[in-house]
């Protein structure tokens, strides 16, 4: 599932990282995307067997251009919805390590059966 998610994120032609994977010395790219898997519980159980997986990720966009943050996150939201992901919100602001960049995140879900 993660490979499919990364493929969608990489289609926007910006660097994609796992949240927290950049080193302290590394400089932020102008605009980039990160992701984090929050949870992946079994969807249900029948006859002591699990049925399906509920994938729960956060997608983050950071940019030195605040307008780009909104635009790119909105485009990612559209692409994920088209690929059957559930994206229930327009997102929220998140902290950036660099004062030059702003960031926002959306939480996205996929039910794999």
């Amino acid at each position: 599932m993660e490979d499919a998610l990364i493929t969608i994120l990489e289609s926007f032609k910006y660097p994609v990282y796992r949240q927290g994977s950049m080193s302290n010395e590394e400089k932020y790219p102008e605009t980039f995307i990160t992701f984090w898997n929050n949870d992946s519980p079994d969807h249900a159980h029948y006859n002591n067997t699990n049925y399906g997986t509920s994938w729960d990720y956060n997608i983050f966009v950071y940019s030195s251009d605040p307008a780009k943050v909104y635009e790119l996150l909105s485009n990612i939201r559209t692409a994920l919805k088209a690929a059957s992901w559930v994206v229930p919100s327009q997102g929220m602001d998140v902290n950036s390590d660099e004062a030059t960049h702003t960031g926002r995140t959306i939480e996205v879900y996929y039910l794999e059966t």
């Binding site: 949240q19 950049m22 990160t34 929050n38 509920s54 729960d56 956060n58 929220m92 960031g103 939480e107």
Partner: protein, 146 residues
């Protein structure tokens, strides 16, 4: 109470059967719901403080003191607003240094595992719901004298 990542969401309509039983027994629902919320908030507070122990945090635990530690909501009281009852839990986002970034992480800092278990997983929410369910059931049992 509300949702993932920087908060917890528990919809009390999930307990409508138990609340209906309590209503039939003449209980003050508003007070009982407020009490259940305050006990739940206390659980979240204790777990959040434990998750903020320096050993659980990045950067040598520097966030386990000072403004971030002070932004944890403590001794939360339920607010009755006519038809609804609300309570603040987790981190007070109006205070500087609030710990939301520890939950979401940053590109250079992974989300904090202990806090994420509280604010980022359905399992923790489900545990709180079981606790509330038991609290309401205890209220019913007390009134039935069982």
């Amino acid at each position: 109470m509300a949702a993932r990542k920087q908060g917890i969401s528990i919809d009390f309509s999930a307990f409508s059967d138990l609340i209906e039983q309590l209503e039939k027994l003449g209980a003050n629902i508003e007070d009982i719901v407020a009490d259940a919320m305050e006990q739940t908030a206390e659980t979240v507070e204790v777990d959040t403080v434990a998750a903020m122990a320096s050993a659980n945090l990045p950067a040598g635990g520097k966030y386990s003191q000072g403004e971030t530690m002070a932004s944890i909501v403590r001794n939360a009281k339920a607010q009755k607003n006519g038809v609804s009852v609300e309570i603040d839990i987790g981190f007070d986002k109006t205070k500087s240094g609030a710990g939301g970034f520890l939950i979401t992480g940053t590109p250079k800092m992974r989300p904090n595992y202990a806090l994420e278990k509280i604010y980022g997983t359905k399992k923790y929410e489900s545990t709180l719901k079981k606790d509330i369910d038991q609290l309401l059931q205890d209220e019913i049992d007390e009134r039935l004298g069982s």
